[in-house]
């Protein structure tokens, strides 16, 4: 069981991910506003963040950077509607585990989440 945060400006998309992952036994919090999501991570521990690249106020990578301030060991999966090589490179440079094109398949999502959690578990000091 892991604590997962989902941030997508389309709430329905976020809820879809929540439903899929809750069935796998994870605890999932869904946000469509980046400020609320950041406030949540300041006070609550989160293992994995699934972030949309294009948000209303900020971009996904900036949000990840902010969240890492409170949660340095946070794992991340980035979702995007417009795949871009340079942004993908940036995402990996910031420690994202995956960079996925939307719409993401149920099976693929489950796989990626499992990978991300394994990577987090292998981090030194865990």
């Amino acid at each position: 069981m892991a604590r997962i945060l989902v941030l997508d400006d389309v709430l329905d998309a976020g809820i879809l991910i929540q439903r899929i992952l809750e069935r796998k036994g994870h605890v999932v919090e869904v946000f469509h506003d980046e400020d609320e999501a950041l406030r949540f991570t300041e006070k609550n521990p989160v293992d994995l963040a699934i972030l949309d690249m294009n948000l209303r106020k900020m971009d996904g990578l900036s949000v990840l950077g902010e969240m890492r301030k409170a949660l340095p060991r946070l794992q991340a999966i980035m979702l995007t509607g417009l795949p871009d090589v340079d942004l993908a490179k940036q995402a990996f440079a910031q420690g994202a585990v995956a960079y996925c094109a939307k719409p993401i398949d149920k099976e693929r999502l489950e796989e990626r989440v499992a990978e991300a959690l394994r990577a987090g578990a292998n981090l030194p000091g865990q």
Binding site: L16, I20, G81, V85, K102, P103
Partner: protein, 524 residues
């Protein structure tokens, strides 16, 4: 005798004697002078008259002298009766001499008149002659200037002729002349080259109308010439050389006689074939870009809701795994949503924004072989035979294997659809060293593409297949992918090469890809 007053006679005699002598002497002098004058100017009639007059006067004076002196001499000699004998002769001689003078004078008068007339005539003749000479001089002067002028004009004419001949022959545009029956009577080198005629005599006398691809257009051209006397920027397609019709822009004017009847026409035709082709390509590429942008926008917007529909359907399927009917219904929703997702992916692909490009160095022949291996089975099922002719000297190049495979699959699928069942699909690869390009040809023995559809087949959403069979994006996507490789794709239906026609190919797609060396692909 005594009664008679006797006067001394001596002075009388003396005067008589001296007077006669002087008269004789003077008459001789006069003769001598007259003679000298006639010697000086033998043709002068006045001098001749003077001479004859003086001569007669000599005779007269001698006769008078004899008549006056001889009586004294005879009386003194004591023979006065002899004078009586001679006296009548002397008188006759005098009379004859005077008559001579009269005749001479009369004759001279007539002669003088005649001469005067002759002189007048001669004078007028001389004047006429003078005028004639002047006229002749004028004429000769005129003649000389005329010759000079003719020479100058000839030179002008030659220069002008050379100038226009140079223009005519040197022009890169077709220049032609037609007679009253609209048959070509002269045409320049460029015209021969454009129309694909080798010798000028092969074209002289041929009706211009025969070169119009569309007869109606030819009729319009003639009608315009007849009504307006000219045509300006008249666009028409001409029957050209082997490589397709000529697209010409004609500017021509009618040649009319004084009555206004058309004697023929002269015209200049500009070859716009290349320009037209480029414009078409430009328009097409513009169209592709704008449609691509639109498609990408729409696809991107649809992507998210579509993903949500698909995801929830999958969730529900899990929930209703036990209830067969609901599960099946949800399965259909999932299936259709996935079809939508494929279309959206195609659209994004087409707009070339969706995927990162991954060009690697490799062998295009191998890529073709892989694709053929995949489709081979399906084709065999429909009794379609694959003729492959892959160049052995094909150089390696950088390409996106996944995406070029997509192009080949697209083209082969289209070929399959065009044939239906039983036919040949031809696959060629060629290396054009001179242009540094690889050419890949995929052709089929199918129904061929009607000319009116040829220009549209690369348009997005253009499809001749039934609803649900194709999205109309296959060729557009292929076009985009080839363009991404800096190449171009062309379609020929029917193909131009006899080699391809001989193999029963009715439609051929030609892909031209420039060689991209390893390490160079990043710059592309």
């Amino acid at each position: 005798m005594e009664d008679t007053i006797i006067l001394p006679l001596f002075p009388v005699y003396l005067v008589d004697y001296l007077g006669v002598s002087v008269m004789v002497i003077l008459s001789f002098f006069a003769l001598a002078f007259a003679r000298r004058l006639t010697r000086l100017e033998p043709k002068n009639i006045l001098w001749a008259y003077f001479f004859w007059f003086s001569l007669v006067m000599v005779v007269f004076s001698l006769s008078r002298g004899v008549g006056h002196l001889l009586p004294y001499v005879l009386r003194l000699a004591g023979m006065p009766q002899l004078w009586d004998l001679l006296d009548p002769y002397s008188g006759g001689l005098n009379t004859i001499a005077l008559c001579g003078v009269a005749i001479l004078t009369l004759h001279y008068h007539n002669t003088a008149v005649l001469i005067e007339r002759a002189k007048v005539d001669a004078l007028s003749l001389e004047l006429a002659n003078e005028r004639l000479r002047e006229a002749h001089a004028d004429l000769s002067r005129l003649n000389q200037t005329l010759e000079q002028q003719v020479e100058e004009r000839t030179l002008d004419l030659r220069l002008s002729e050379e100038k226009f001949r140079g223009f005519f022959e040197g022009s890169k545009d077709m220049i032609y002349f037609c007679d009253a029956a609209a048959r070509i009577c002269d045409i320049n080198e460029s015209g021969l080259r454009l129309l694909g005629v080798k010798r000028r005599q092969d074209i002289i006398g041929q009706p211009l109308a025969e070169f119009f691809l569309d007869r109606e257009r030819g009729d319009q051209y003639r009608a315009l010439l007849a009504s307006d006397g000219q045509v300006k920027d008249f666009e028409a397609e001409f029957v050209g050389r082997e490589d397709g019709p000529l697209y010409l822009m004609i500017t021509a004017s009618a040649i009319t006689d004084r009555a206004g009847a058309i004697q023929g026409c002269q015209g200049i035709a500009k070859d716009l074939t290349h320009f037209k082709k480029m414009m078409e390509q430009l328009v097409h590429s513009e169209k592709m870009t704008s449609v691509g942008q639109l498609a990408a926008g729409v696809a991107h917007e649809i992507n998210t809701p579509l993903g949500i529909i698909l995801g929830y359907a999958q969730l529900l399927e899990e929930d209703f795994a036990e209830q067969t009917e609901v599960h099946e219904t949800l399965g259909i929703i999932e299936k259709q949503a996935k079809i939508c997702r494929r279309i959206v992916a195609d659209l994004l692909n087409f707009s070339r924004q969706a995927q990162e490009h991954n060009k690697l160095y490799g062998d295009l022949n191998q890529c073709l072989e892989e694709v053929l291996a995949i489709v081979n089975h399906t084709l065999n099922m429909d009794h379609i035979f694959i003729h492959r002719c892959l160049a052995e000297n094909l150089p390696g190049t950088c390409f996106d294997n996944e995406r070029l495979r997509q192009v080949f699959v697209n083209l082969l699928t289209n070929a399959h659809h065009a044939i239906g069942s039983e036919g040949i699909i031809g696959v060629w690869s060629r290396w054009h060293e001179e242009s540094g390009q690889i050419e890949i040809i995929i052709g089929d023995s199918g129904s061929g593409i009607p000319p009116d559809q040829l220009g549209r087949i690369f348009d997005p959403f253009y499809t001749t297949k039934g609803v649900g069979k194709g999205t109309g994006l296959g060729l557009s996507v292929s076009f985009g992918i080839i363009q991404d490789h800096n190449g171009r794709i062309e379609v020929k239906s029917p193909p131009l090469e006899p080699e391809l026609v001989a193999l029963d190919m009715h439609t051929t797609f030609h892909i031209f890809l420039p060689i991209i060396a390893e390490g160079q692909e990043k710059e592309q």
